[in-house]
């Protein structure tokens, strides 16, 4: 295995584009090193991205949005004084991953690129409409987060391409987001189902919504029918019933030791309901 620590994205993608065999990018290493040590994925080329300028920065953009460096850890997001005020759902979803020790290293970019259908941060990223900058030999393009996962353990990134930044849109007024997952214990587990809801209010009425589900399909799901069930409502019981039904209807889960198809399908609806209520309350509390 060759270890590289380039100082800019151009060099990083040049190394990856020319590399033979398996290439992995190293940020927090909480998946890459586990797979390396278990001989599941032993890279021929390992590109440590932490020498690249700006990768540890959390920056508020001029339009009010946020730029998150690709090596920013979960702990750094949780400790940031303002990020969690704008986007509590994104921060709480990332914070649910692993222990204190894992939080010191794990990144949202890694959670996305690891390609796990059960990744906690990914539904939250999709629900809030995040995008990523993808840098490759031909330059940099913007891609919505939901277009990155291609299946369990796979992404749509081509050889020589890497994510070079994460972008969160401006929060704007009267908005709220939330993420909930089901695990059979209280900490240190992988989502059996995860659900993120992001919405914006006009008065007490939901004007815009996005609902994303994790761990119920080969990739994260952005469920348009679930969002449509919320828009134009004040989140009354009828709207919540329609939301839960739409969320459950979108599920295409597997049966495994952590949950059956029936259980996951049901819990998706339950979590959608609860996450929507939290997002709605947060949106109301931020109204001026």
């Amino acid at each position: 295995m060759q270890y590289h620590k380039p100082e800019n994205f151009e060099d990083a993608v040049a190394i990856a584009a020319q590399a033979q065999g398996l290439t992995r990018f190293l940020a927090g290493g909480t998946d890459v090193l586990v797979q390396l040590r278990a001989d599941i994925a032993v890279p021929d080329t390992l590109v440590d991205v932490k020498g690249i300028g700006g990768v540890k920065d959390i920056t508020r953009e001029s339009d009010g949005g946020w730029r998150i460096g690709i090596a920013v850890s979960g702990a750094e997001m949780t400790e940031h004084p303002d990020l969690g005020r704008d986007w509590p759902g994104v921060v709480e979803a990332t914070d649910l991953i692993g222990s204190t020790q894992i939080q010191g290293r794990a990144t949202m970019t890694g959670n996305l690129c690891n390609g796990s259908p059960a990744a906690d941060a990914v539904p939250a990223m999709v629900a809030v409409g995040m995008s990523v900058s993808v840098t490759g030999p031909d330059g940099t393009r913007r891609v919505p987060v939901e277009e990155i996962p291609a299946g369990p353990g796979r992404t749509s990134l081509a050889k020589g391409e890497m994510i070079s930044a994460l972008h969160i849109p401006p929060r704007g007024a009267a908005g709220g987001d939330a993420y909930l997952r089901f695990i059979p214990r209280t900490e240190m587990d992988i989502a059996v189902v995860g659900c993120a809801v992001n919405l914006r209010l006009d008065g007490d009425t939901v004007a815009e919504a996005r609902v994303a589900l994790g761990a119920v399909a080969p990739t994260v799901l952005l469920v348009a029918d679930a969002a449509d069930a919320l828009v134009g409502t004040t989140l009354d019981d009828k709207a919540l019933d329609a939301l839960a039904e739409a969320a459950s209807a979108a599920c295409k889960p597997i049966d495994d030791k952590r949950g059956t198809v029936k259980f996951r399908t049901h819990v998706a609806g339950v979590l959608a309901r609860r996450a929507a209520k939290i997002a709605y309350d947060r949106a109301r509390s931020t109204r001026t």
């Binding site: 295995m1 270890y3 222990s99 204190t100 894992i102």
Partner: protein, 159 residues
Amino acid sequence: MSKMHITTTVNGDDVEFLCDPRETLLDVLRDRLGLTGAKEGCGTGDCGACSVTLDGRLVCSCLVLGAEAEGKRIGTIEGMAKGEDLHPLQKKFIEHAALQCGICTPGILVATEALLKKNPDPSETEVRYWLAGNLCRCTGYDKIIRAVLETAADMREAS
């Protein structure tokens, strides 16, 4: 495969070592630097027995490459006592018998020292969540939690 030359700081001392790119920081600490306080329990970041600090941040040294230590500050259990003077957490762990076999203890002490630096007055729930990634198969955790809370109270009083 050529070895990498790494310059770092461990418990305040300048340290140099040669390592293979695949070697973890835990391997380097134990096998190249003779610092065997950090233990390998799982090797996958679940058990916390290998906990160290990297630039002050609590991490699992089994999930850090030795190469990543370049230019960093590493803190291990060996740096906790000042000579013969045990850290208040170490004294309290002995007083409460907050250990039996001792495999998890270095990691738990490093983790709780990091907690008390960040939050000198944690609630019981905060201590339990902070230590969720430090597994102990002997004590049932309760003595550990009591020892941490009492140490925190003593240290607040002393400061």
